[in-house]
């Protein structure tokens, strides 16, 4: 004979169903007020809001990056615009050189634009910036123009060129 009775045998709702039902009915006479939901769940909304903001900012940043990348890909490259057959003979020859960015011959009609057109392809675009960046990286500063006129040939010149490219690509200037 077991000396320890299971706890379920002790008087509880199963043994006194009517008492349990009446006690529950009494308890249910005072349900939690709706105002409590507002106060507790309202506090939760305050917690959620920054999370939602963070997600929103992250989504916006992703969209901005996607637009930027797409814009870069959609910019017509010189090779696409200019058929090889249409290129001038000297230009075609220059394109075969390993240091293409060194070719500084003016191509565009506007002299001012040609100053920035490092690749001499008739456009001031991201390829010019790449060419300048490559020149700085390889220490070939002799081929870089002093865009900011500070007497030195360094990344600041690249910054100035990049800023100009951005302005051009946004359509604020159309000098290329």
């Amino acid at each position: 004979m077991s000396t320890q009775q299971p706890q379920s045998e002790f008087p509880g709702p199963d043994e006194y169903p009517q008492l349990a039902a009446e006690l529950r009915e009494l308890a249910n006479r005072h349900p939690a007020p709706v105002d409590l939901d507002r106060r507790v769940v309202g506090d939760l909304d305050v917690v959620r809001r920054p999370v939602a903001w963070g997600r929103g900012v992250a989504v916006a940043a992703l969209i901005a990056v996607a637009i930027g990348v797409t814009s870069l890909l959609l910019i017509p490259r010189p090779a696409d615009r200019m058929m090889a057959a249409d290129r001038p003979a000297d230009q075609t020859a220059k394109s075969h050189r390993s240091n293409e960015f060194m070719a500084m011959a003016p191509m565009a009609a506007e002299p001012d634009a040609s100053l920035w057109d490092v690749t001499a392809d008739g456009r001031v675009d991201v390829l010019d910036a790449f060419a300048v960046a490559k020149g700085i990286e390889r220490g070939m500063t002799g081929t870089i123009r002093d865009f900011n006129s500070d007497g030195r040939l360094d990344t600041r010149d690249l910054d100035v060129l990049t800023a100009r490219i951005v302005r051009v690509n946004t359509g604020k200037e159309t000098d290329s």
Binding site: Y16, P31, L36
Partner: protein, 175 residues
């Protein structure tokens, strides 16, 4: 809102950052917290509201830290609600748990409010155990854990409460 996850799984989800899970937890235990707060504050709805809100704020804070449930959440919540309520009562210079004024008994015993009257006549400690056992359906061990008292004390209080109800209101002990 039919989240089948257990309380412990919801607590883990909250810690992971799923704040919506707390709403599920809240709806699951709202009535229990409210009833407990209302009873301990002697029916003061305004105070019970503050206590309930504070209890859930405390629970959310605990969920975000490391909360491992070894028993039902109600077992864990009960002492918290009680302590918060007692703090509020002390702050407002009200009477403590054992001295909460009894509800006025109706003139005619035997009406539909009889059980409520019988309950109001019980000492708080006995009423507390009786309600946890019969309304919240907590086991003796869970009650003992929640109240931080020995299981034997729970049995004793429950026994005396049932005895009083049997003695004073025969119809309720006819199960």
């Amino acid at each position: 809102m039919s989240d089948e996850r257990t309380d412990q799984e919801l607590v883990v989800a909250i810690r992971r950052g799923e704040t919506g899970c707390f709403e599920t937890l809240y709806h699951r235990h709202r009535d229990f917290v409210w009833r407990t707060a209302l009873r301990i504050t002697g029916g003061d709805e305004h105070l019970a509201m503050d206590v309930s809100q504070e209890a859930f704020a405390w629970l959310l804070q605990r969920c975000r830290k490391r909360l491992r449930l070894t028993a039902k959440l109600s077992t864990f919540l009960y002492p918290a609600v009680r302590n918060i309520a007692l703090t509020h009562l002390r702050r407002t210079s009200r009477e403590s748990l054992g001295e909460v004024p009894e509800r006025p008994a109706p003139d005619e015993p035997g009406t539909s409010d009889t059980l409520e009257v019988l309950l109001s006549r019980l000492p708080d400690v006995q009423r507390e155990v009786l309600l946890l056992r019969f309304v919240e359906d907590m086991s003796l061990l869970e009650i003992a854990t929640a109240l931080e008292i020995p299981t034997g004390t729970v049995k004793s209080r429950l026994h005396h409460a049932l005895k009083a109800i049997r003695r004073d209101g025969g119809e309720h002990s006819s199960d």
